[in-house]
């Protein structure tokens, strides 16, 4: 499904630091290094999963790629365009191509607009199609996300969480984008509804030839939907590999800990598997540890890890890790 040479999004050394301001004159006293130098490519037609715990910078990464934040440093390419150098109007036109779906289907829909107006808004904003055809297109979009088009005169509160997420998806699809950032799109939904929405994402990808950056903290769902998976910790990507490879051969100690922390719905699993439980909490991104970001919780860190930040390197074809201690012979 994935052609490795066809890169649709390319991120190079992306950094996003938020200033911490204090006092009457709002002097900058520091910065939160939400994203601190990450590089990766997304191939056309694939789903790249981005996982990590709260505050690791995964949502900031998604938003910075779409230029919702102005990156502190680094470059973002979409097809042949460099997004961070585009003028405002050029970027606005670009938004037809790149879209976002948000976590909270309750907060991302205006409660005073009908479903028709919500879904039609991007069509109107870009004047993409003649006014007469808008209703027809809204019906088409609603069918696409398996909602009854006859509901288009209703308001968001008349829909359940899963249905509202479908409305958000319909709106994102209105101008036929090719790349969508999905920011925790199923986290707020009940278990039985999550599967419905995940299946919808997969169907739409096939039907419309979409590329997804799928951000989530649920590792088992991410593995299910992704072709490749990137793991973030404290503003950096610690590991990136093919979905089966990363779950079968995790090299980075953080990936290993994260995988072993996933609750598995099989009681027998706990009789044969020992959990690797990490000590302590994630350090503050305003004051990250020197050298390797993970060293304060890492079971195998030594003095060298405190001095120098490891390079994000390809240890096997397509398998990238940022760690000094990768021992290939072990695997």
């Amino acid at each position: 499904m994935t052609d490795n040479n066809d890169v649709i999004v390319s991120v190079k050394n992306l950094k996003m630091h938020f200033p911490i301001l204090r006092g009457v004159i709002q002097r900058q006293v520091g910065s939160v290094r939400a994203v601190d130098g990450i590089s990766f490519d997304i191939h056309r037609g694939e789903t790249l999963g981005l996982v990590g715990e709260s505050g690791c910078g995964k949502s900031t990464t998604g938003r910075t790629i779409l230029q919702l934040y102005k990156p502190t440093e680094g470059r973002v390419f979409f097809q042949d365009k460099e997004l961070n150098t585009l003028k405002a109007e050029e970027m606005r036109q670009m938004r037809k191509e790149v879209q976002m779906i948000f976590q909270d289907p309750y907060a991302s829909l205006n409660p005073r607009m009908t479903i028709r107006d919500i879904v039609a808004e991007p069509l109107v904003a870009f004047g993409a199609i003649p006014g007469k055809e808008i209703d027809e297109r809204v019906r088409e979009l609603m069918s696409l996300v398996r909602l009854d088009p006859d509901f288009m005169a209703r308001y968001p509160h008349e829909f359940s969480g899963g249905q509202r997420q479908r409305i958000g998806i319909a709106r994102a699809l209105a101008n036929r984008p090719s790349f969508i950032v999905c920011d925790e799109p199923i986290s707020a939904l009940d278990v039985s509804i999550q599967a419905q929405v995940i299946n919808l994402f997969e169907d739409l990808q096939k039907e419309l030839d979409l590329t997804y950056l799928f951000i989530a903290h649920d590792l088992s769902m991410v593995r299910h939907i992704s072709d490749r998976v990137a793991v973030m910790y404290l503003g950096i990507i610690v590991e990136l590999a093919d979905r089966n490879e990363i779950y079968r051969n995790p090299f980075h100690p953080y990936t290993q800990a994260l995988l072993s922390a996933i609750p598995v719905a099989d009681p027998a699993y706990y009789e044969t598997h020992n959990r690797m439980v990490l000590e302590g909490d994630v350090p503050s991104p305003a004051n990250p540890p020197s050298g390797c970001r993970f060293r304060t919780r890492c079971p195998i860190a030594d003095e060298h890890c405190a001095v120098e930040r490891p390079e994000f390197r390809e240890v096997k074809p397509g398998h990238f890790v940022e760690c000094f201690k990768v021992n290939l012979s072990e695997k």
Binding site: D190, S192, L258
Partner: protein, 330 residues
């Protein structure tokens, strides 16, 4: 005479809302043995939290109303107790921890003060005793430098640490039952693993019984010995944990387990999804509450509500259809 530690019979709770009466719990019965961990699983609105809150009389009345049922704790009916009697049970013999530890802690009081106060009030400790016991409790739940951290305020603790403090406070009076209402839902997976490990260790050390309410089947598999699955205000299936996961008999449980991605699976399989939505419960269901979403549904399911019946192996299920054969039960 010996009693079950907890024996809940036919509990029914409803809420009056501007939209109508919501029948949240519609006749729930279960037992809990000493030292046992019962997992209660279900999606939002299935009645799992309301069941436990009703037992401790922690639901606001009105709008809530416990319509029927008994909740025997060592032979005494909790639901028949007056305000003072139930207060002694709560926090003493039965303790509860909640999902969001930030809203359960007072933000303008130090952790030390919040921990010492109930020890002084309930157990008559003096200041030194209360302080020493607080330090001991914090150490027991794995908070480093406990003596120093008593002076800190809740916002200086991380989410996982706050949940540890809540557990420490719940354990203060050595309860016989700990009710944990989604205690790890707001936490990250690595922190969730820490808390689950902590509770398993404390269970072994202190021998208390636990009711662990969650929507996460993975967490239940790791901690529970017995599991009750709730839907539409009913327990629709109950079994020992392995039996439930290996041999689910209710279509809803089967759907729920099937809708999870298999972590050990190499290839990609389409997720099984339960179509439709959970019921709104503005009426007490007269037919099977799952029938509108069920793929095994029969005419009888739309007419009569099935009751829990044993299928052997300590396994009970409320369904008119035997899913192993696909035929209707006699």
């Amino acid at each position: 005479m010996t009693y079950d530690l907890l024996d809940v019979q036919n509990l029914e709770t409803r809420f009056k809302t501007p939209e109508g009466v919501v029948h949240a719990v519609n006749g729930v019965s279960f037992k809990l043995n000493e030292g046992e961990t019962l997992g209660v699983v279900g999606e939002s609105g299935c009645g799992k939290s309301v069941t436990m809150l009703s037992l401790l009389k922690l639901i606001p009345q009105p709008p809530g109303e416990i319509v029927a049922g008994k909740g025997f704790f060592k032979g005494d009916d909790l639901l028949a107790m007056d305000h003072n009697e139930i207060r002694k049970v709560r926090g003493g013999q039965i303790a509860m921890i909640f999902q969001d530890p930030m809203t359960s802690l007072n933000p303008v009081m130090t952790i030390g003060k919040q921990m010492e106060e109930p020890l002084k009030l309930h157990l008559g400790f003096n200041s030194t005793q209360a302080r020493d016991r607080s330090i001991e409790l914090l150490e027991q739940v794995g908070i480093p430098r406990a003596a120093d951290r008593l002076k800190d305020y809740p916002h200086q603790y991380s989410g996982g640490m706050r949940q540890r403090v809540m557990i420490a406070m719940a354990l203060a009076c050595a309860p016989q039952i700990l009710i944990a209402d989604e205690p790890t839902t707001a936490l990250d997976v690595t922190i969730q693993a820490q808390i689950v490990d902590l509770v398993i260790r404390l269970r072994e050390e202190l021998g208390m019984a636990i009711v662990w309410i969650t929507h996460d089947l993975g967490v239940v598999a790791s901690i529970a010995q017995r599991v009750a699955v709730m839907y539409g205000g009913y327990i629709i299936e109950e079994a020992p944990v392995k039996e439930l996961f290996n041999n689910p008999r209710h279509p809803y449980t089967i759907g729920l387990i099937g809708s999870l991605p298999q972590i050990e699976l190499e290839g990609r399989k389409r997720l099984y999804s339960i179509e439709g939505m959970p019921p709104m419960l503005y009426q007490k269901p007269r037919s099977c509450p799952f029938s509108p979403r069920c793929q095994w549904v029969r005419e009888r399911c739309r007419q009569e509500n099935p009751v829990l019946e044993s299928v052997g192996n300590n396994h009970t299920v409320a369904c008119w259809v035997d899913v192993t054969t696909g035929s209707e039960k006699a």
